[in-house]
């Protein structure tokens, strides 16, 4: 039988705030355990939460970027359960009245082309702390630095039909949220986490099968692998006459297998109720409109604009807009006067390499534009410019022209110097000279190459050929 896979994703992203959701502690990643804590996030007796306005602003912006309706009134609710990383014995979240509902994300499905995924809801909540099992032998330690970190939970409709599609959706969702400045969306630092719901049904039917929840994926690639494994597990269960049970499974990246957690322990009754410590969150229509206006240009719009404004190819525009930082850098280079096509090549080449390695742009956009200008003016060869770029990226030097001069890379178009190198090359290759003179015209490239080599790349190739033509005549 042919099976159709149905997938919906719950994505938690950390809102990019300086401080926590309900108190003033910092949200810095990687600080020593239990250093960013206070009575509120430790759940000390008498402490009370106060909402972080910046977290609300970012969540609203995220919701608007995902096309959601932001509700003028939403309600914080307590989600009750006991766990040592949860200081209050409940998590402050939102339940029946979330911040926003009803959005959609347009993305490129690898199987079905451009399509939309519905966003059921986006709500704000606080994160729990972290249990450390490897710090003290035989004991579990609790680090509450992360407790109270502001999160937005983004729940998709079960609109995805394959693990690869789920991954493509995640990639687009991440792009949008990074563009909108809502979250860093770094899975490594825990600022983006994915829980996936998956079920199968006979192709062509519409009734949803029993879904399972898959957790513990630490990369988008592993989300895809985990869902592949779970899909296979469900299909083989059903095809061997068993039923799929509603369980939570953990993905093991080492074995590429999913394993059910004890299902009974997982059947929580969270006893949600409105948090009496927090009045309903009320946002005025005017303020929401203000936030809507403040949503920056999103990846799709930027890609379309770059294609149109700078005559970039669809592929180039997509590569450049994949990362908000890269696109911004490209635009800055063009704004500083560089030719867009040349700037695109630089950005997709050297710039992207250093960005992928260091996560930063060590050469200011204006300096790269100057460097591109030097190539256009014939002061530097493209080869020499790459060396200058890597020098600028590694040193504190700023001025491309000065760096090129210091490295002795400035192109030589002086006739005397060029003649000297040409003479040396002709003298060194009598055989090739004879063949050229007897009509083997394609050897010209060889002679140009030899001159470049002898000049250590400094000879202006445009100046070399006329001299060669003259002397080989």
């Amino acid at each position: 039988m042919a099976w159709e896979t149905v997938i919906g994703l719950e994505v938690h992203v950390q809102l990019r705030t300086r401080t926590k959701m309900f108190c003033g502690d910092r949200t810095t990643f990687g600080d020593p355990p239990n250093t960013n804590v206070c009575p509120v996030c430790l759940g000390l007796p008498g402490a009370l939460p106060v909402p972080n306005a910046e977290a609300i602003r970012l969540a609203v912006r995220g919701a608007l970027a995902l096309g959601c309706t932001v509700h003028e009134t939403s309600v914080f609710a307590r989600k009750n359960y006991f766990y040592p990383d949860l200081p209050k014995g409940y998590q402050i979240s939102q339940f029946d009245r979330p911040l926003a509902t009803g959005g959609s994300v347009s993305f490129e499905s690898p199987e079905r082309g451009r399509m939309q995924v519905g966003i059921t809801r986006l709500h704000v909540e606080e994160d729990a702390g972290k249990l450390l099992h490897d710090r003290f032998p035989g004991k579990t330690a609790v680090d509450l630095n992360r407790a109270g970190t502001p999160l937005a939970e983004i729940v998709s409709e079960p609109d995805l039909r394959s693990p690869a599609e789920a991954r493509a959706y995640l990639t687009t969702l991440r792009q949008i949220l990074v563009y909108a400045g809502v979250s860093e969306c770094s899975m490594e630092q825990g600022s983006l986490r994915v829980d996936a719901n998956l079920s199968i049904r006979p192709a062509g039917t519409s009734k949803l099968g029993t879904k399972t929840e898959v957790k513990n994926m630490n990369s988008f690639a592993n989300v895809e692998r985990a869902l592949e494994a779970e899909r296979a597990r469900q299909i083989s269960l059903v095809e061997s006459g068993h039923r799929v049970e509603q369980v939570t499974l953990l993905f093991n990246a080492a074995t590429a297998q999913v394993k059910p957690t004890r299902s009974k322990e997982e059947s929580h009754d969270y006893r949600y109720f409105p948090d009496p410590d927090l009045p309903p969150l009320v946002l005025t229509p005017a303020w929401i409109a203000e936030q809507r206006a403040a949503v920056p240009e999103l990846p799709e719009a930027k890609r379309a604009r770059l294609e149109a404004a700078h005559a970039l190819s669809v592929t180039d525009a997509r590569v450049i807009t994949a990362e908000a930082g890269l696109a911004h850098y490209f635009e800055s280079v063009v704004d500083a006067g560089a030719d867009p096509k040349t700037a695109a090549n630089w950005v997709m080449g050297e710039v992207m390499t250093t960005y992928n390695e260091s996560g930063s742009f060590p050469v200011p956009a204006r300096r790269l534009a100057e460097l591109i200008g030097l190539v256009r003016e014939g002061v530097l060869s493209r080869q020499a410019a790459k060396r200058v770029y890597s020098e600028l990226a590694q040193s504190s030097e700023q001025d491309p022209r000065a760096t090129a001069a210091r490295l002795g890379l400035v192109q030589v178009s002086d006739q005397g110097a060029l003649s000297g190198w040409v003479d040396e090359v002709i003298a060194a290759h009598p055989g090739e000279v004879a063949r050229f003179r007897s009509g083997e015209a394609k050897l010209m490239a060889f002679f140009v190459g030899q001159v470049m080599k002898r000049s250590q790349g400094k000879a202006d190739p445009k100046g070399v050929q006329p001299v060669l033509t003259e002397k080989l005549r």
């Binding site: 000390l44 007796p45 008498g46 109720f273 009496p276």
Partner: protein, 461 residues
């Protein structure tokens, strides 16, 4: 010796003498003297300069432990002061003692303290009321002129009535809850006991006002101490008939009759009104308060602070079970179970949601009456004078009904107070005055007129 030092020495003597009441959980002469020295160092004398004030032991302080009358917090010391403590100290008050209470403020007699019951200052066989019984008893015994308690459903007004002192619950949102250990967060109010209306008003004016640390405080100017009024002319006082049942204690009924007559003599118009949904106040309260309590008390799990016990089977579940099973008393466990039950899947709509709907109806009753031209309501504070210790401990519902006249105002978030208006067979009787939301100044001004006109020590018949 400075005035503050003299007051501190005197307060210490009185606290020591009041020892048999078991009204205090933590106090020391050293801390009192340190408080006096701190007050002496203040560059300007605050409005409460050198006034000794006792605090219910569910208000966190850095200098003393905060136990909430529970084994689970035995020895716990807060690293921060409650907002009300900071405000009292800034006004020059001296923190004199932390007072005994029903465990986590759950009770109406201060018999549910893990550290023993508080005795009524006039009759040690009786209860002082609760849950703020320790604070009430200290003020009634003349140990301190004022004390802070807390109210969730009458825990200051009811003991004030039993002990013959003034007890004022402000509007919800008037006083910061930051540092008040949560019981029922939508109901909890730091509240004030005073020997006189003026003492209570002065303390309340200092602790009131919005607090950036409590999102439920209302952004309005702090309450002012009201100006003295000559009489009650121009006021309309409503008597809600549901609060004067036929089986009301004879002494209480007589005291209220006398109070009503006095109110008329003082020029107020008195009229009967109706608050029909108040009949549901106790059951509504005993759904909402335990539901919130069940969540609020989840943090006492033995993981981070307070008592920690692991049973023989070991593991995290054993830690929870043993810490909480041994650390909480019976009444607290009962309310956690009730609260957990009413929030459970399948029961939420029938209990918690329904209770919230009834709560809205109860509040609407008050609004309607106040909108009809009534300025204040007068009711008995309690159905009877102080009852005997042990009389209701075996019957939780009988204990809950001790709060039958005080729960509804808590559910409605209204300011209300108990004023001593007479004695029956030697036991104090309180009359309750209720005002519209944020009308504490009107409430206290009227109470002051009555206070002047009535002898609270007079026997009523």
């Amino acid at each position: 010796m400075s005035r503050a030092a003299a007051f501190a020495a005197e307060a210490g003597k009185r606290l020591a003498a009041a020892g048999p009441l078991n009204a205090t959980l933590h106090w020391s002469q050293e801390l009192l003297d340190a408080e006096a020295a701190r007050v002496d160092r203040m560059t300007t004398a605050g409005p409460l300069a050198a006034m000794p004030v006792a605090l219910k032991d569910n208000i966190v302080t850095v200098e003393q432990p905060t136990t909430c009358g529970s084994r689970i917090l035995e020895g716990y010391v807060s690293p921060y002061n409650a907002t009300v403590v900071e405000r009292l100290r800034a006004a020059g008050a001296m923190i004199a003692a932390k007072t005994n209470l029903d465990e986590f403020a759950m009770g109406s007699s201060t018999e549910h303290s893990a550290f023993g019951r508080v005795k009524h200052p006039l009759d040690p066989t009786r209860v002082p009321g609760g849950s703020s019984g320790g604070s009430a008893a200290l003020v009634a015994a003349g140990v301190v002129p004022a004390a802070l308690g807390s109210e969730t459903g009458g825990s200051v007004r009811q003991p004030a009535s039993f002990c013959g002192v003034v007890g004022v619950k402000p509007s919800y949102g008037r006083v910061s809850r930051y540092g008040l250990v949560a019981f029922g967060s939508s109901l909890d109010c730091v509240s004030v006991f005073g020997r006189t209306v003026d003492d209570a008003a002065r303390v309340l004016s200092i602790i009131s006002g919005s607090d950036p640390l409590d999102a439920t405080t209302v952004d309005r100017a702090p309450m002012r101490v009201p100006k003295a009024l000559p009489d009650l002319r121009g006021l309309t006082v409503g008597l809600p008939k549901e609060y004067f049942p036929a089986d009301l204690d004879a002494g209480v009924a007589a005291a209220l009759r006398r109070t009503t007559e006095k109110i008329r003599e003082l020029g107020a118009e008195v009229r009967q009104v109706s608050l029909p949904n108040s009949a549901y106040a106790v059951p509504t309260y005993y759904i909402i308060a335990p539901a919130e309590a069940a969540a609020n008390l989840a943090r006492y799990d033995g993981v981070r602070y307070g008592r920690r016990r692991v049973g023989p089977e070991g593991g995290i579940r054993s830690l929870y079970r043993t810490t909480r099973g041994e650390g909480f008393g019976e009444e607290v466990r009962r309310r956690i179970l009730v609260g957990t039950y009413v929030l459970s899947a399948g029961y939420y709509d029938a209990y918690y949601k329904k209770a919230q709907q009834v709560r809205a109806l109860i509040a609407e009753d008050f609004r309607r009456v106040f909108d009809s031209g009534v300025d204040l309501l007068l009711t008995p504070t309690t159905p009877t004078p102080a009852f005997k210790a042990g009389e209701k401990t075996e019957d939780p519902v009988a204990m809950y009904l001790a709060d039958v006249f005080v729960c509804s105002m808590s559910l409605a978030g209204l300011p209300a107070m108990s004023l001593p208006v007479g004695r029956s067979e030697g036991l104090p009787i309180g009359a309750q005055l209720v005002a519209p939301y944020f009308s504490e100044e009107r409430l206290l001004a009227a109470a002051q007129v009555l206070e002047r006109a009535l002898d609270p020590l007079a026997e009523v018949r």
